[in-house]
Each structure stands twice: as structure tokens, then as C-alpha cells.
């Protein structure tokens, strides 16, 4: 549905986006992840045809964003970083206007506007002026304008920024419910968001793609080292001696507070030492309060990828 090849954007001498390649299949939700200033907004603007790329191509539903700009614009819904709202319009009037300029036929318009108002939970505010709405509702109107014409491709630039936790959850549900019929690209720097909504992730850093994969794929790359954390009480010494004997255990760290201990066990490779650890703790007469396995998260992947890049940068420049 979306094919991006060698997409590059240069502002004067600075490269904002460099040689971007990725594809998004129909019905997929792609998370576009990166720290602030990584080039997310620039990429989205190029995909919507708002900005011409310096080099490379992007195709949406088979149309080139530069050569067939109008055809592309008919097929996308776009929510920019700041929702493009006319403050002096009512919610309903605004959505009618957007539907009109997006080319929704006069017969379909009332139905589409009603649908999108219901879908975005705006029914009680439909007659209100946009400038009187709270930020959360404005964001919903912003999403509503992006989907009012039922576009096959939806591009959302940080759709949950500035919302309170309840609103964030609502917006995520809304986005999730749009998948399947629509292809969605969503940019964010909030990691749990990607986890909850997206099928696949593109991580970009300093204008370059540093990883493209499913979330599980990314996490498993880092998952070759696991940690177990146990909260125990009682005499610790026998346990500490025995735990080193278990095959696969690499390191043991202990933090003690009086009779209570928190033991962190790091394993190497895919060794599953959980049952042995639990059995050993009971066997050595300790009381086990809590035990959990710490797996690599998207945060770890993200931090590793983006800091690696920074560390590599000076040598690349030299």
C-alpha cells in the first residue's frame, strides 16, 4: 500500500531524512518511532505530498506522491502534529467543510459526517465551536477530519500527544479499530503506544532507519540475556553458594535490607533457570515472596539502537 524507496530530504546543508526504505502492507498499522527531531514529521509530510522529497520516491496506493499528488491526496487522511482546526467553526460545520474539500459527494456527506462524529465520540459536542473544546476533544476532531472521507491510508503524526491517560486509551482504541480496512502510519516517541497499537515498527534516528521489524522480532533480538529477580527472606548464604552451580547462570547480585534480600540473577543464552531457582530457594530454607523474569522491552531495544548510533557517529564523521 505504501512503498518508500531511498527517500531523502535535505534542508540546505542538513540532512533531515536520509535514504529511507520501508513498505507498509494493506490493513497494517506501522509505528514510526524515533526521538524528537529524528525526521518523523518530515517523512510524514513527504508521504502526504505536502513536502517534495529531495531524492527518492514514495508511492501510496500505486501513485507517486510527487507526480500524482492530487490522486495521493484523495487517498490519504492526515493528522499533522497540531490538528488543523478552524477555531470559529462548529465541529459539524468543520467536518462538513473537510468532507467537501476531500471530495465526498454531496449525497454521502451527511452520512459520513454522522458516522465520523459517532466514531470519534463527538456526538455531544457537534454544535460546539471548536475554540471552546478541550485539547482532548480537539485532538478527536483532528482524527475525525483525517478519516471523514474514508481514505485507504491514514497518516497520524503523534496522535496522542498532550492527552490525559484516559483519552490516550480511547484514541488508541479508535486507531486500533480502524486497522484492517485502513492502512495506518502513526508516529510517536511514546513506546507503550507502539506496543499497544502497531503491528510493525520502523525506528528512525537522525534521519535514518535503524530497525524495521515486528515488535516481537525486535525484542527477541535483544532477548538473549534474561534476568530473574527474587525477593527472599531468611539465611542467604547457602542459596548464594548453590546458585552459582546452576548451569547457565552468569551473574548474581544481592541487595539486602535486614532480613530481606533482593537477588538478581542474570542468565546467558536461552537457559530457563526459573524452576531451579525457585526449588533452590525453598530447599535452602528461604521464604520466597516474589519472583519475576525481566525480559527485554521495546524501551531497551530503542535505547540500544539510538545510543549505538550516537556512539558510532563521530568515527563515521572522521
Amino acid at each position: 500500500m505504501i512503498i518508500v524507496e531511498h527517500l531523502t530530504k535535505r534542508y540546505g546543508t542538513t540532512l533531515a531524512v536520509q535514504d529511507l526504505n520501508f513498505t507498509v502492507g494493506a490493513g497494517e498499522i506501522l509505528g514510526f518511532l524515533g526521538p524528537n527531531g529524528a525526521g518523523k514529521t518530515t517523512t510524514m509530510r513527504m508521504l502526504t505530498g505536502y513536502m517534495p522529497p529531495t531524492a527518492g520516491t514514495a508511492k501510496i496506493a500505486g501513485y507517486d506522491v510527487l507526480a500524482d499528488s492530487l490522486a495521493v491526496r484523495q487517498r490519504i487522511g492526515y493528522l499533522p502534529e497540531t490538528p488543523p482546526l478552524y477555531r470559529d467553526m462548529t465541529v459539524e460545520g468543520y467536518l462538513h467543510f473537510v468532507a467537501r474539500i476531500k471530495g465526498v459527494s454531496a449525497g454521502d456527506r451527511p452520512r459520513r459526517v454522522d458516522w465520523v462524529i459517532a466514531r470519534c465520540g463527538l456526538s455531544e459536542r457537534r454544535q460546539e465551536l471548536i475554540r471552546k473544546l478541550s485539547k482532548g476533544f480537539r485532538q478527536r476532531v483532528g482524527i475525525a477530519q483525517a478519516i471523514v472521507h474514508d481514505p485507504p491510508v491514514i497518516i497520524l503524526d503523534e496522535p496522542t500527544v498532550g492527552l490525559d491517560p484516559k483519552q490516550i486509551i480511547e484514541v488508541r482504541h479508535l486507531i486500533k479499530s480502524l486497522a484492517g480496512d485502513h492502512t495506518i502510519i502513526l508516529s510517536t516517541h511514546i513506546l507503550p503506544e507502539v506496543h499497544m497499537t502497531c503491528d510493525r515498527v520502523v525506528i528512525i534516528h537522525q534521519g535514518r532507519v535503524v530497525a524495521t521489524d515486528t515488535i516481537d522480532g525486535l525484542v527477541s533480538q535483544l532477548d538473549h540475556c534474561r534476568q530473574y529477580e527474587l525477593t527472599l527472606s531468611g539465611p542467604l548464604a547457602p542459596f548464594q553458594q548453590a546458585v552459582g552451580q546452576i548451569p547457565g547462570v552468569e551473574a548474581v547480585q544481592t541487595q539486602s535490607e535486614g532480613d530481606h534480600h533482593v537477588v538478581t540473577v542474570t542468565t546467558k543464552g536461552a537457559a530457563e533457570v526459573g524452576p531451579e531457582l525457585a526449588a533452590l530457594a525453598i530447599h535452602t530454607g528461604l521464604r520466597l515472596y516474589e519472583m519475576h523474569r525481566h525480559r527485554a522491552t521495546l524501551e531497551d531495544v530503542f535505547l540500544q539502537l539510538t545510543t549505538q548510533e550516537e556512539a558510532g557517529e563521530p568515527s563515521a564523521g572522521a
Binding site: 513536502m51 484523495q74 490519504i76 492526515y78 490538528p83 478552524y86 470559529d88 467553526m89 473537510v98 474539500i101
Partner: protein, 266 residues
Amino acid sequence: MRLLWANFVAIYRKELQGYFATSLNYGIAGVYWLLAGVFYIVVFNAVQTNVAAQDLQGQAGLAAPPVDVPAVILENYLGLLSSLSLFILPLLSMNLFAQERQQGTLELLATSPITTTTVALGKLAGVLTFFLTLLLPVMVYESVTLLQAEPPFSLGLILLGHGALVLLAAAILSLGLFISATTESTLLAAVGTFALILLLWILQAIADRISGAPAAILRHLSLLQNYTNLIQGSVSTASLVLFASYVILGVFLTVQWVDGLRFQRS
């Protein structure tokens, strides 16, 4: 073609709704109507006093040429009304694109299947319509008084004079549209458009004071000179073409500029 028209109407309607939803515009209309009314009374009385004085001189034996009183009133009044309008026009055009840029809605328009030319034309038509609604009451009281004249005065002349004013306004608003597209600040847009109008006045003053080919060129290109010609009743194709050219120039520059904005970093 039908789609283009539908888009044009969409933008036009949105602009009109915007004008009637903004309280500032009611203030502008109020001040405009108040001053226009006062000016009309002043001109009306002044011309009549003058003519009465000339009549007295005529009775004293000094033959004065016959005066078409309604025509003189209309011409003088339209001169004043154009000056008044020139003060108001920057306030009408300042929001056209500056506000879209400021509130980020330009990004919506630019990513919708609608051309920048359509947007610019829709906006220009919207602001011109608002200006026309400012003129309508003025035309009503002119007609009520001037059509009482004996021998009868033609309504066509009133319409022609105001048509000329609308052309002048269209040219200025079109350039104001462009100035509004160059900035995110509505204040700067208003100041810029006002500076442009001052420049037109200055060029006119220069043209009046010099002679030869440069003066002729200035006079041909001067919006105010061509406006004066029109309200004096001398309609020439050259004047009409000139006004149309300014309108097209403004729209063209606007479209170029707005499309060029996409190449800039924001």
C-alpha cells in the same frame, strides 16, 4: 471541472462563514458605514452649496457652465469612499492566508485534493463579497437621493462608479492576499498591505508632478488614476484590463508563494 467548482464553492462558503463569525468584522462594517454616511452628507451639502453659489454668480451675469449636480456629487463622493475603503481593505485581507498559516490549517488545505489556485480564488471571492455587502447600504442611500434629481439621473452611472470601486478593491485585495501569504502574522500582513496602498498613493503623487514618458507609464499603471478615469465616466478597455491584470498578478504570486512554502523548513 465540476470538482474544481465544488472546491471553489467550499472555500468560498467557508470564508464567508468566517467573515460573519468574526466580531472584528462587525466593528469594521460599523465604522465604515458611519464614516461613509458622514462623508456622504458632507459631500452632498458641499456640492449643493457650491452650485448655489455658482447660480448666484450666474444671476449676476457671469455665465457659468451648466453643472450636472448628481454626477458631481457621485464623483466627489466616490473619491472619498475609495480613500476610506483603502484604509479598510488591509483589515479585510490580513487574515486570508496568515491565519491559515498560523493555525496550521494550510497543511490541511495542502494535503487535500484541492489546488492552491482554487483556494486563492475562493478566498478572494469571499473577501470581495464581504466588501460588496459593505457597499450595498451605501449604494441604497445614494440611489434614494440622487435618483430624485431633475433631469433624471441614471442608476447605471451609480452602478458603474461602484463597479469601479469594486475593481479597485479586487486589485488591492488580490495583492493583499499575496502579502498575507508571505507571513504568519496578521498584523504584519495588514501593515504590509497598507504600505502597498501608501506606495500607490505616492506613485500617483509622483506621476502628477513629473512629465514625459515616465509620468505616462506611471499613470497607465496607476490603480488610482484608472479608478479616477472610471468614476469620471470614461470607461476604457485598457483600464479594465489593467485591473484584471493586477488581480491575476496577485493570485499568481499567492499561488507561487504558497506552493513554495512547502520547500521551506517550518
